[in-house]
Symmetry: C2
Subunit: 198 residues, 2 copies
């Protein structure tokens, strides 16, 4: 079927989104053709407005000021604890759990020499500076488990002074998970990470 170019180009952008295939993208595009002109212009303006998003100089999270509310929070600074994450979405996931009350630092990825991603491409120099400035004494590495993630954690452990307590988040069976359906690597990690149970 011979569809207008206008539809195809909107479909192209929708299909770049996670979990959106070509069919869904066209369905969404057709849906938007039912909106009124004003709504489409507003949607377009909202997309362009994302260009004005700023990031916190310290941790890398979204912020309208140069330093975000998290980094300015006295209670968080006083914990002297810094949680290192890969991405903004990982930051948000930890924050949603409402279990962590310290500072954050977003690396912007993990080390990947094959892809040309070294410490300078990530926010690692800034992390090392920040540890000194904020007098951090505890670091939680909330880096996802993968070959690159593990290597990044080892690299950071070497670079960070031995006086500082560095921990990595626990790996094991997720809540609601079932041994029957979990991969062997997760089960191996869960066995390694067993704790005395009283």
């Amino acid at each position: 079927m011979d569809l207008p170019e206008q539809l195809k180009s909107v479909q192209f952008f929708f299909s770049k989104l996670p979990g959106v295939g070509e069919k869904t993208a066209m369905r969404q595009t057709l849906q938007i053709t039912n909106w009124n002109e004003k709504e489409r212009v507003q949607f377009a303006e909202a997309l362009v407005a994302l260009n004005s998003l700023n990031n916190c100089e310290n941790c890398g999270f979204f912020s309208s000021n140069s330093v975000c509310n998290y980094c300015q929070d006295e209670h968080r600074i006083e914990t002297r604890t810094l949680c290192v994450v890969e991405s903004i979405t990982d930051f948000m996931a930890i924050d949603r759990s409402e279990q962590y009350k310290g500072l954050y630092h977003i690396l912007g990825g993990v080390l990947n020499p094959l892809m040309g991603i070294g410490p300078e491409e990530l926010k690692i120099p800034q992390l090392l500076k920040r540890i000194e400035i904020d007098k951090i004494s505890n670091i939680i590495l909330a880096i996802n488990p993968s070959v690159e993630g593990d290597a990044t954690c080892s690299y950071l452990r070497q670079k960070i002074s031995e006086n500082i307590n560095v921990e990595r988040i626990g790996f094991g069976i997720p809540m609601g998970g079932s041994l029957e359906y979990l991969d062997s690597l997760t089960i191996m990690k869960a066995l390694e990470n067993r704790k005395s149970f009283t």
Copy 2:
């Protein structure tokens, strides 16, 4: 969590799309923050370009000219057959099946007096004129089964000259469907529509 307004407004538009909830909308919005500025601007321009989409004067399908390729196709005109559908997406679904080689007419909905949708709100007057101009002799009502759809079909049958052969598409068990999981109405229709089997 206190997220910037820019994110919330993009999330709002994504969540208006079919099958996109608030969580998915935010995930897609965050994904777009990883695009470069130029891509976001191009996406925005593509959305605004939808405002320039034109519809065929005859059938209502997308067209860059005043009359679309379907309506200009001599082979289709010669069939003297017109398929009446509710929407552009229904048009596309029938065309995808590659079983129908006649003309189309998009009503733009079905009659719904409670919602104030009468024949004038739909492309019914245009349909009646077109039947004369194009010397249509067969009409296929490819209207979805519903109270309003059924009423629309009855109304059209009354309005269309008795010399013209009017048929409605068949209802029954869909391919791959299983009697066990189908609703009673579909099974009732399937029993009504049984055919001699030799």
